[in-house]
């Protein structure tokens, strides 16, 4: 049950982004969670909803994308998706697999209200101020 600690790390990063990017409010935080991370999405959402109360993120929710375990078999070179943590190639039964996905624990994006009444500054990728 370390989801609360993970939720706290997500909150810290989102709060910092809010200040750094001069945002009025954040509606949602998008996170990518690999299946191999031992994190239960429902518990993470529950913990996040509780800890953001009475902070500058009050009302902000999580949008969780689960990432399956995927990779390539080094023996037959075929693309594989690992199900139920059986790390055996379904095509040739080799155990020599290169796993490329499924370990993610990343913040992917934040969502903000973007209407004309609430100008957003400092968002352009080229660094120019964007009023809206």
């Amino acid at each position: 049950m370390h989801e609360l600690a993970i939720a706290e790390s997500i909150m810290d990063i989102a709060l910092k982004a809010k200040v750094d990017k001069h945002l009025d409010s954040i509606r949602a935080v998008g996170v990518r969670i690999g299946v191999m991370t031992d994190i239960v999405p429902e518990a993470l959402e529950f913990g996040f909803d509780i800890i953001v109360k009475d902070t500058a993120l009050d009302g902000c929710c999580l949008k969780i994308e689960r990432i399956p375990v995927r990779g390539t078999c080094r023996s037959c070179r075929k693309f594989i998706e690992v199900e139920d943590f059986v790390f055996i190639c379904p095509h040739c039964a080799s155990r020599d697999l290169e796993i490329t996905q499924g370990q993610e624990l990343d913040i992917a994006f934040i969502e903000i209200d973007d209407d004309e009444d609430t100008p957003v500054r400092g968002m352009d990728s080229n660094g120019e101020e964007n009023t809206g």
Binding site: F85, R95, L97, I107, I112
Partner: protein, 224 residues
């Protein structure tokens, strides 16, 4: 209208940054570090007691013992001859994180040390997410637990370098098949090494000591 702003940041980037600093310090020192993980009561502390009794005149060991509450494990390790033992009481947290370990290491002289062992909180789920800057995780399964443990907690077994099958002396009294636990572990992690032992009878302990010495030597060699 809703606008999406890309962020692309690891949730545990702060933990990983500190773990990276620890790893870099230990690399310069050529100091092997192991993160011991298991469910509660699988024999981590007992194995460390026996290891101290057998090797403390030959190896300088620094030990960190994590527990939710009490420093009982650390006291046991001191009694067994540990001269450099540091308890971490997490007071509720189900895992150690890199910051807790770093605080201890910041106040600890590691000069001349051969081995750093971090005994994590007994828990097969949460500690798997937190890098402590270690060279490898050592996961314990005692024969009283069930040979399907790797299948139940795949994340931890996937991330571990060595599996210790402990309490081998109790095998006659348990419905536990050693070949099955090894097969299950290798379904999750084909590269995992395995040592079977009993801290009580001493069975298999030589192999553990050989494994330790070999890895200590390899780490020192890499630092030269």
């Amino acid at each position: 209208m809703v606008k999406k702003i890309p962020v692309e940041k690891k949730v545990l980037s702060e933990n990983d940054r500190i773990a990276g600093e620890i790893r870099s310090r230990l690399k310069d020192l050529g100091l092997l570090s192991l993160n011991l993980v298991s469910s509660p009561g699988s024999g981590k502390t007992t194995l460390l007691e026996k290891t101290l009794e057998a090797l403390s005149d030959k190896l300088k060991m620094v030990l960190i013992a994590g527990d939710v509450q009490t420093d009982n494990d650390a006291a046991r390790l001191v009694k067994a001859g540990g001269t450099d033992v540091h308890p971490i009481m997490t007071r509720g947290a189900c895992h150690l994180d890199a910051n807790m370990v770093n605080k201890v290491l910041a106040e600890t002289s590691l000069d001349g040390a051969d081995l750093l062992i971090i005994e994590n909180v007994g828990n097969l789920v949460c500690p798997s997410s937190y890098d402590l800057g270690e060279d490898g995780k050592v996961v314990f399964v005692s024969v009283t637990e069930g040979d399907d443990k790797p299948l139940k907690y795949p994340g931890m077994f996937r991330r571990s370098s060595l599996m210790i099958v402990s309490k081998l002396d109790l095998l006659p009294h348990c419905q536990f098949d050693v070949a099955t636990v090894i097969e299950n572990a290798r379904t999750i992690n084909n590269d995992i090494e395995v040592i079977q032992l009993s801290s009580l009878t001493g069975d298999g302990m030589d192999e553990w000591y050989r494994w330790l010495k070999q890895n200590i030597q390899d780490k020192k060699q890499a630092a030269k």
